[in-house]
């Protein structure tokens, strides 16, 4: 089991992808069963892994991919944080997607690429070397493209084109940076950070800029975020997934890896690269919030909110202090759970009531109380109100900023929270307190299982977001695990 487990997490989605591609639409029940079965199995594997890794085990599998370059799957604690998040949310998104699409054309393709996407996301998490990481990172780009362009209309194809141009350009910059670094220090293993002494500071800085610039595309750092709002043309389950787990998180996760496992916090501090990155993250946080405020379309507003929120993770990583690291890492999980809640709710609103614009939200709370309750939990969490999980992230980031003598970050956090409130609270006000417009068509009853399954996943993630905040002090809470990661090496 020691070396087998990481492989299992790669092969299971491959099986589900193969089944999804192969089965025709009339056997969709079998496809759904395969997808759900694989998702549950992965959850079991992850539960086992969490237990074993907490006890100090590290799972690793490697083979020589090219002479001198190993393909390494390695499950350290940081990897497992991301793996757990993606496997858990993937199960819920699969349930949601099955309910959302029901039956339709092109679903074999959709679920096939959907599974390749989770494969790539877990692969990104488990990569033990820079080259392995790049393999999965690119697979993620390729597997998401058909999902973004899924609808096949002009808007989706355009979104797909923009998505590809941004991400491929980013990957190329990252690859150039990594190869440059490898030409100086040899193959890069995350478990054994390269020795960077003797390399000119200018070279290291340029490589850092290339790498972070490349990764920043997926992490949607300003001004590289342009693809993300466009990608809203995709169906709701895809948006939920892009924003919460897969693409933007892969970028943010990779930046954490670069800072902590390639350069090391010592070198980053020495080169003075932490503060500019933190400043850029702060600009992104505020810019994303302001842009979100200006949107009248619900999904677009959520998209810009993602631009803003993902940069909290980068802010935490670049501040280089114990609490800031924990805050950034825990936000990786918290933002995922809260944002997926919001997107699944938005999808359910659009699907059942045709609500797309914010102005249409009036009275939605009375008609779909469970959905709007879940939405409210997510929104309040994004603002950072206790006891929702988002509060924990901001609290740790704030303390971390003070520890790192960066008091200005607290002002950024406060400003961002105010902006978050300014763009989320009006939605809640409309949904709960305004009467529904008289001409709105009556909503369908929750007649079928399918209708319930469209709402259940959001309700679950909302509860988890609450739970992650209330029970933050328990060992297997996101906070507990982030602290474990930080204690395991990032604080020295």
């Amino acid at each position: 089991m020691m070396t087998f487990a990481p492989l299992l997490l790669v092969f299971l989605p491959l099986v589900a992808a193969g089944v999804s591609f192969a089965l025709p639409e009339r056997l969709s029940a079998w496809r759904n069963a395969a997808n759900l079965g694989v998702a549950f199995t992965k959850l079991l594997v992850v539960a086992y892994l969490l237990n074993a890794t907490e006890a100090g085990l590290v799972f690793e599998w490697r083979y020589e991919f090219l002479p001198g370059h190993d393909f390494v799957l390695r499950l350290d604690r940081l990897a497992l944080l991301f793996v757990t998040l993606s496997v858990f949310l993937w199960l819920l998104t699969t349930i949601y997607a099955i309910a959302y699409f029901d039956r339709g054309p092109n679903l074999p393709r959709f679920f096939g690429f959907f599974n390749l996407c989770v494969l790539a996301a877990t692969g990104v998490a488990m990569s033990g070397t820079a080259i392995t990481f790049f393999l999965f990172y690119e697979l993620l780009t390729l597997a998401t493209w058909p999902l973004v362009a899924h609808k096949g209309d002009d808007k989706s194809l355009r979104a797909g084109r923009i998505y590809l141009s941004y991400t491929l350009a980013g990957s190329v910059a990252f690859l150039a940076g990594i190869l440059w670094l490898q030409s100086l220090v040899g193959a890069i293993e995350f478990a054994a950070p390269p020795d960077l002494t003797g390399i000119p500071a200018l070279t290291l800085t340029l490589i850092f800029i290339l790498c972070i610039g490349g990764l920043g595309v997926k992490a949607a750092i300003f001004p590289l975020h342009g693809w993300l709002p466009e990608a809203m043309a995709a169906p709701a389950p895809v948006s939920a997934l892009l924003h919460a787990v897969a693409v933007v998180k892969a970028g943010a996760f990779a930046i954490v890896r670069m800072i902590y496992d390639v350069y090391g916090i010592g070198t980053v501090a020495e080169l003075g690269l932490g503060v500019p990155l933190a400043a850029l993250a702060s600009v992104t946080i505020l810019y994303g919030s302001v842009r979100a405020l200006m949107q009248s379309d619900l999904k677009k507003r959520l998209a810009y909110s993602t631009v803003s929120q993902v940069s909290y993770i980068i802010l935490g990583a670049s501040l280089i202090g114990p609490y800031a690291v924990i805050g950034g890492l825990v936000h990786l999980v918290h933002q995922g759970i809260m944002k997926i809640t919001l997107f699944m709710c938005a999808g359910a609103l659009a699907n059942r009531m045709g609500i797309k614009a914010i102005a249409d939200l009036d009275g939605a709370g009375r008609l779909m109380p469970v959905t709007m309750a879940a939405f409210s939990v997510g929104a309040l969490g994004m603002i950072g109100l206790p006891p929702v999980a988002g509060f924990i992230s901001k609290w740790y980031l704030g303390i971390g900023a003070l520890q790192s003598d960066a008091a200005w970050v607290v002002a950024v956090l406060a400003g961002s929270s105010l902006l978050n409130a300014a763009y989320f609270l009006p939605l809640l006000y409309r949904a709960w307190l305004l009467p529904p417009p008289p001409d709105r068509p009556a909503i369908r009853e929750l007649a079928t299982t399918r209708d319930r399954m469209l709402i259940l996943p959001a309700a679950v993630t909302a509860l988890v977001a609450l739970g992650a905040g209330i029970f933050a002090s328990l060992p297997f809470s996101p906070l507990g695990w982030a602290t474990l990661i930080a204690e395991g090496g990032y604080l020295r």
Binding site: F21, E64, F65, L66, P67, H69, P105, N106, P108, R109, I131, F134, L135, E138, L139, T141, L142, P146, A149, K151, G152, D153, D154, L157, G160, R161, L164, S165, L168, A169, V172, L175, A176, L179, W180, Q182, S183
Partner: protein, 490 residues
């Protein structure tokens, strides 16, 4: 007769049989494909020190066949490509309506090209190489003529010019050194006027065959007009033989003569080909010319690698990158042409804008096209990526940032034009709403298997990097020889 001889003799036998059997000769591919694939696999898996199997006759009289790494990989890829293209052509006869006779002439030409290519990859004798070059060119011209006689005639004239230049160079070499064997030449060649002239002539001739910019003019019209299986063979096999002979000349026979400046000329032409071919491909609104110009760009990478191989003390990485790029391109481009042929047949047009709705109607074919796109762009995991990774690493290590930049930009440009074609397949059927966007399946599944298998192999190459790099290094000119080389003639 050793299996090595069979690699050349068997296709000739199949050619004769196909000529005699007439219309039923097409079934021979069912025998030829597995047989040749088996032989090629046997060759690839031979131990490294068994590179000289035939050649009991002493040089300079004997004919030396050498199964070095480049030959092994190229022969294996050739067997896979021609086998798959042949099986595909069996199900989907390459003929125009009203030209039923064409299908009959297709098969002997395929076997002729097969024999010529295998012999060309194995032999180290410049004159034998000329013969094999002619065999392949002849077959290629005739295959191109199945589509457009005008394009084929143009190809023929240009190819003839290339052959003459090469032959003249060989004649000069014989006059100067009294030998035409690559290995012997490597020991005696020196940089005098006659040698330089000979090398220059041979190189110019071969560059035409390999369609390196600016000598690529014959390629796009010939490819665009030919039936898909013929285009696949032209792009995958015909241009590669010219490239392999150039490798033999520049890194082995005349390695002592070729200076860095000359290598950079080739590298510069390669870089220009990448950019020019990509830009031309972007400007096409028909699918087959787009794929043809993509070949012009991809050939550029092969020559861009020349200065990278020569510019380092430990060239195994760049060498493998160059060789694997050739192999990956063979597999992916053949797959792409076959898929494009099926797609164009389904829409009964050749404009990229016509491709809408195909992603639903023929998912397997579009998948094959998509996988080929991945490898041609150099995205992981694929043989194209492995090759690009090795070349890019070599370029950065040598500080050759110009070449590194072209490698990087070429990949992005490829993404632009290839994804344009691919996303056109996802668009709804022209003139219909998204709800009615469905085409009936136009072709059965069997035809789609060949492109899918080839593209799949190009992807699988990405996982076997170490083994492929090791094979490519067998008996490479820069490596320490594993056997004692035949003694030079007194």
């Amino acid at each position: 007769m050793s299996p090595l001889d069979l690699l050349m003799a068997a296709p000739l036998g199949f050619m004769a049989a196909a000529l005699m059997l007439g219309p039923s000769g097409r079934w021979l591919i069912l025998l030829a494909a597995p047989l040749m694939a088996g032989l090629a696999l046997w060759l690839a898996l031979l131990p490294p020190d068994a590179a000289y199997l035939v050649g009991q006759w002493d040089l300079p009289l004997g004919i030396l066949l050498r199964a070095d790494g480049v030959a092994r990989l190229m022969i294996l890829a050739t067997a896979l490509v021609i086998g798959a293209v042949g099986l595909h052509a069996l199900a989907e006869p390459p003929e125009k309506p009203g030209h039923a006779a064409q299908a009959e002439t297709f098969w002997p030409l395929v076997y002729l090209m097969w024999a010529g290519a295998n012999a060309g990859f194995l032999t180290t004798d410049l004159f034998n190489l000329y013969v094999t070059l002619e065999m392949v060119s002849l077959a290629a011209v005739a295959l191109a003529a199945m589509g457009s006689l005008a394009a084929a005639l143009r190809y023929f004239m240009i190819a003839l010019l290339g052959s003459l230049a090469y032959l003249l160079g060989v004649a000069l070499t014989v006059a100067r050194y009294d030998t035409v064997d690559v290995i012997l030449l490597a020991q005696v060649a020196e940089a005098d006027l006659a040698t330089l002239l000979a090398l220059g002539l041979m190189t110019a001739g071969l560059l035409i065959k390999a369609a390196l910019f600016p000598m690529h003019g014959w390629l796009p019209p010939a490819h665009a007009a030919a039936p898909a299986p013929a285009s696949a063979l032209l792009s995958a096999i015909a241009v590669k033989l010219g490239f392999v002979i150039l490798v033999r000349l520049w890194f082995e026979a005349f390695a002592a003569v070729t200076g860095p400046a000359a290598l950079h000329v080739l590298g510069g032409l390669g870089a220009a080909a990448v950019i020019y071919g990509s830009i031309q491909a972007m400007r096409q609104d028909r699918l087959k010319p787009l794929v043809a110009y993509s070949t012009v760009a991809q050939v550029g990478y092969l020559f861009l690698a020349f200065p990278l191989v020569a510019g380092t003390v430990e060239p195994s990485g760049a060498w493998a990158g160059m060789t694997l790029h050739g192999v990956a391109h063979m597999l992916a481009k053949a797959a792409m042409f076959l898929a494009a042929g099926l797609m164009l047949k389904a829409v009964a047009g050749d404009r990229i804008a016509d491709l809408g709705g195909l992603a639903q109607a023929m998912p397997l074919t579009v998948t094959a096209f998509g996988l080929a796109v991945v490898s041609l762009m150099g995205l992981p995991p694929s043989g194209g990526f492995t090759a690009k990774f090795l070349l890019l690493s070599a370029a950065i290590e040598q500080g050759a940032f110009l070449y590194a930049g072209v490698l990087v930009i070429g990949g992005l440009l490829a993404a632009v034009y290839l994804f344009r074609a691919l996303s056109a397949c996802f668009a709804p059927l022209a003139g219909a709403g998204p709800d009615t966007a469905s085409r009936g399946p136009v072709t059965g599944g069997v035809q789609a298997v060949a492109p899918l298998a080839l593209a799949g192999l190009a992807i699988v190459m990405g996982f076997a990097g170490t083994a492929l790099v090791d094979v490519s290094a067998i008996e490479a000119p820069w490596a320490t020889p594993t056997v004692i080389q035949p003694e030079a003639a007194p």
